[in-house]
């Protein structure tokens, strides 16, 4: 069973954490399975530099495993579509029940990622 999980970034800069440009998407792993693809998009109005999206998962947030990353280089001057077809660090990482995804973005800039979306392709075991 293939499930497409869509999410959008929280605007972390609103909360005041502006020293490092960052944002976060949280998605609940709905079943035991595998992350097979990650797609992300970032908008030009983030004012961001060298953005990195890092997908992690962990059982109830107690532990976190790095799944894969999406990277941009330099200033984002248009909506950038990023793809990670084979999660690089743990290509066979299983996501179990009660696990959750955290897609953090970090980069170099004055503001946090605001207008960004993500699609996580998830295959149940």
């Amino acid at each position: 069973m293939k499930i497409f999980i869509f999410g959008r970034f929280e605007s972390i800069d609103v909360a005041g954490a502006v020293s490092a440009e960052q944002g976060r998407v949280q998605c609940f792993a709905p079943a035991h399975g595998f992350v097979t693809e990650v797609l992300g998009s970032m908008d030009a109005d983030t004012g961001g530099l060298n953005q990195r999206m890092m997908l992690r998962s962990g059982a109830s947030g107690q532990t976190e495993d790095f799944i894969g990353g999406l990277n941009t280089a330099g200033m984002i001057d248009a909506v950038s579509i990023l793809e990670c077809e084979s999660p690089v660090a743990h290509p066979e990482l299983e996501v179990g029940c009660n696990d959750w995804f955290t897609l953090d973005s970090q980069g170099d800039g004055a503001t946090g990622v605001d207008s960004a979306g993500v699609c996580i392709v998830f295959e149940t075991a």
Binding site: G7, F28, L39, G61, G117, C119
Partner: protein, 263 residues
């Protein structure tokens, strides 16, 4: 059935997931009573199969999470609660801890096509934040025209007069319908522009009322015409941009639901 994970054995072709994001309302000045809410739109008349919630970093106690607005009722309707008990929630907590109360309230529950919201109440110094998912199964025949479909469910932020979000498209698909709603009484008409790759018009969705009421629902079938025919066709590498504007800042989050047909 209340659960913290989808049971693949319960999944049937045509089933879909909905998502709602619980906002920390305490951060918006509603401290004292810890509350949060997240709207969502049900795109077809559907049966609830399973539901799950993750709550995190709420600094809250004894959160109770309800669904409001069932069957188009615009007043609160408590149909069961997901309860996180304890002196405080820190880190990430998966609820429900009291699954039985949800099973009692939500078993065999039918959702009409409408706008709803998840609402949490509790005690503590801050409102909860979290994610709420629902495993849904269409009832009736309305969904059949879409064949194998994908649902995007998300939301715009509150407190501003404009917001934009875009979603990457994972497979070849066609945009069939866009939906939204009002989550709080608003003082100005809401307009939402859907565009392929931020340039080609897919649809313009507007609330019927100049002052949308609480839990209002509005939708737009995508009517084929020359202008939008190519824009509705999406594939890998494309994205859908959704942008709303209104003359005044919205007081509640605005849900977005997009129905995609796989081709």
């Amino acid at each position: 059935m209340a659960s913290t994970q989808i049971d693949p054995g319960l999944w049937r072709p045509g089933d879909y997931l909905l998502h709602a994001y619980l906002t920390d309302m305490g951060a918006n000045g509603q401290g004292g009573t810890e509350t949060g809410q997240g709207p969502f739109v049900v795109p077809f008349r559907s049966r609830l199969i399973q539901v799950g919630v993750v709550v995190e970093n709420s600094n809250g106690s004894d959160n109770e999470i309800d669904i409001e607005g069932l069957e188009g009722v615009k007043t609160s309707m408590q149909l069961g609660a997901l309860v996180a008990e304890g002196a405080g929630i820190s880190g990430t907590n998966v609820v429900p801890t009291d699954a039985q109360s949800v099973a009692d309230g939500l078993s065999d529950l039918i959702f009409e096509k409408a706008t709803y919201r998840v609402r949490s109440d509790g005690t503590g110094s801050g409102g909860p934040e979290g994610h709420f998912w629902m495993h849904m199964r269409p009832e009736g025949n309305e969904h059949i025209q879409y064949g194998d479909f994908i649902i995007i469910s998300s939301e715009f932020w509150d407190g501003t007069s404009s917001d934009v979000v875009h979603f990457p498209v994972p497979v070849d698909c066609e945009v069939m319908r866009v939906m939204s709603g009002a989550n709080d009484p608003e003082t100005a008409q809401i307009s939402i522009l859907f565009q392929k790759n931020a340039s080609d018009l897919i649809s313009l969705l507007q609330s019927a009322d100049a002052t949308p009421t609480d839990l209002e629902f509005f939708e737009s079938d995508i009517i084929p015409d020359e202008r939008s025919a190519s824009a509705r066709q999406l594939g890998r590498g494309d994205f859908i941009e959704c942008a709303y504007t209104t003359a005044a800042g919205i007081s509640g989050k605005i849900p977005i639901t997009i129905v995609l047909k796989r081709i």
